[in-house]
């Protein structure tokens, strides 16, 4: 009798386990997203997926997550230490678990206001702690609110003590520039680096945008005069900037894709001019970007603080954009 009871107890427990596993399995099962993202990749069509994360919020991923791709996140004008920055960081964490992006590029204004050790904790280490704990690396560029001395030497920003620097991931070369002070020495350095770069993809990131439909700052036309000829001559594929506290995807110029993302902490609502060069603009909430680069395409997804995907698409290397939205 006692044996029967014990057996029944274990059977019940086993049954419960099976039921729980089935439910969990169902919730983690990939299902096509409502607005399915198709891309004609080398291995056929890839599909966006909506996954049920452990936080119970639905994450709508638009990246194909291909083998050997380079994946990273983009944030700009983030370092406020305020609630919105923390909420964006929380969303980034959830997407990192899905995409396993292993680094983040920062488009300047990484730390607003004072730069005490407490500020670095409040405005960087605390909000991005889960990402830092997951060994995600951050690569910073300097904005006009940054303190070059403190930030260049701040190890988690991986600047190697320099105002501008280059690094590579897979077949992608990254150039972090200091647009606060684009002196002839930096221009010469950039030209030499671009010229010698053997990578298929070349990506530049810095604070001041070369194109910008925002009313607050506008484009830095003089910076564009100096940088654009170099970008064209040496085949830069994409440029990421911040400064204007909105998100913009600009109409490609000479086969170069320009993104402005200056609202990962700060926000300037209703900032756009009526006319302009943007293909997509968003100025009503904070955002961050996910980017995945394969041998011939750059996939991007821009996500608002609320979790809404506000822009996504695929950009063939050196070809016109195929807008999916």
């Amino acid at each position: 009798m006692q044996i029967q009871k014990t057996l029944l107890k274990y059977l019940n427990l086993f049954g419960l386990c099976i039921l729980a596993a089935a439910l969990l399995g169902r919730s983690l099962q990939t299902v096509p997203a409502a607005n399915t993202f198709t891309a004609s990749g080398s291995n056929g069509a890839t599909r966006g997926v909506a996954l049920q994360a452990s936080s119970a919020s639905t994450l709508d991923l638009k990246l194909p997550l291909q083998d050997k791709s380079v994946r990273f996140a983009v944030i700009g004008d983030s370092g406020t230490g305020e609630r919105a920055q923390y909420e964006v960081a929380h969303k980034m964490e959830a997407y990192q678990q899905m995409t396993k992006f292993d680094f983040v590029i920062m488009l300047g204004d990484n730390i607003y206001g004072s730069h005490s050790p407490q500020d670095f904790i409040k405005k960087f280490e605390q909000p991005y702690k889960p990402l830092l704990d997951a060994s995600v690396k951050f690569y910073a560029s300097l904005g006009n609110h940054d303190n070059p001395n403190d930030e260049q030497l701040y190890k988690p920003f991986n600047m190697g003590g320099e105002r501008y620097y280059a690094f590579q991931k897979g077949d992608v070369a990254f150039f972090a520039l200091d647009s606060n002070y684009m002196d002839p020495v930096q221009l010469n350095w950039l030209e030499k680096k671009l010229k010698n770069s053997q990578e298929t993809w070349k990506i530049c990131f810095f604070h001041h945008p070369l194109y910008n439909d925002g009313r607050h700052h506008g484009a830095d036309a003089d910076l564009r005069t100096q940088l654009l000829p170099l970008f064209q001559r040496y085949g830069v594929n994409a440029v990421f900037s911040g400064h204007e506290h909105v998100y913009q995807r600009i109409k490609p110029e000479n086969n170069i894709y320009f993104f402005v993302l200056g609202n990962s902490g700060k926000l300037m609502t209703h900032d756009f001019r009526g006319d302009g060069e943007r293909l997509k603009g968003f100025d009503t909430d904070q955002t961050f970007m996910l980017v995945e680069i394969t041998s011939d395409k750059l996939f991007f997804q821009t996500i608002a603080r609320t979790g809404e995907t506000i822009d996504f698409g695929e950009l063939p290397r050196n070809m016109m954009v195929k807008d999916t939205k």
């Binding site: 606060n180 002070y181 036309a221 003089d222």
Partner: protein, 176 residues
């Protein structure tokens, strides 16, 4: 020879000689001014190095306070050097990039020039305005530790590592 042509030749020759001499003198003056500016910058860098070493010896934490450097307004930007810089800036602003530079400066973060003094720290929490690259191409090169910075219409010589305003030229840039 036509009697009317001879005086014309003489006049042209005289004007040419004058222009040649004047422009030559200008270039010579400018290069002497730039040389003087660079010598003053080198002197500052030497003092800075000395101060750094002294500070390292004195201060166990190695914290540098360059505010004790003996720089004063006009030490580097002497009246002649300041005039040269103003001229270079004006020429750049009148050139083909002038409008773009003005637009960039107008779009920058509005900064106050209150509290800007030579040999003092750059005001705490005042954002740095980007310096137009085309302008930088037309100014003498600086050592890595120094930068030209613009705050409103003032041109600063800024010591990056010690966050110090080494010298300044008020009303150097007409942004309007």
């Amino acid at each position: 020879m036509n009697p009317y042509i001879a005086p014309r030749y003489v006049l042209i020759s005289v004007v040419s000689i004058f222009l040649f001499t004047y422009c030559g003198a200008q270039t010579q003056d400018d290069s002497a001014i730039v040389k003087d500016f660079q010598a003053r910058v080198d002197k500052y860098m030497g003092l800075r190095e000395k101060q750094h070493l002294l500070q390292q010896k004195r201060d166990v934490a190695g914290k540098i306070d360059d505010a004790h450097l003996t720089a004063h307004q006009g030490d580097i930007f002497t009246p002649a050097i300041a005039e040269y810089f103003k001229k270079q800036i004006e020429t750049t602003m009148r050139g083909s990039a002038g409008e773009k530079i003005r637009t960039s400066l107008r779009h920058a973060e509005p900064l106050t020039t209150v509290g800007l003094k030579a040999n003092t720290k750059y005001p705490n929490n005042l954002p740095l305005q980007s310096t137009p690259p085309t302008l930088l191409l037309n100014l003498p090169l600086l050592p890595k530790a120094l930068q030209y910075r613009i705050v409103g219409s003032t041109l600063l010589l800024y010591d990056v590592h010690s966050d110090l305003i080494v010298d300044l030229i008020p009303d150097a840039i007409a942004t309007a």
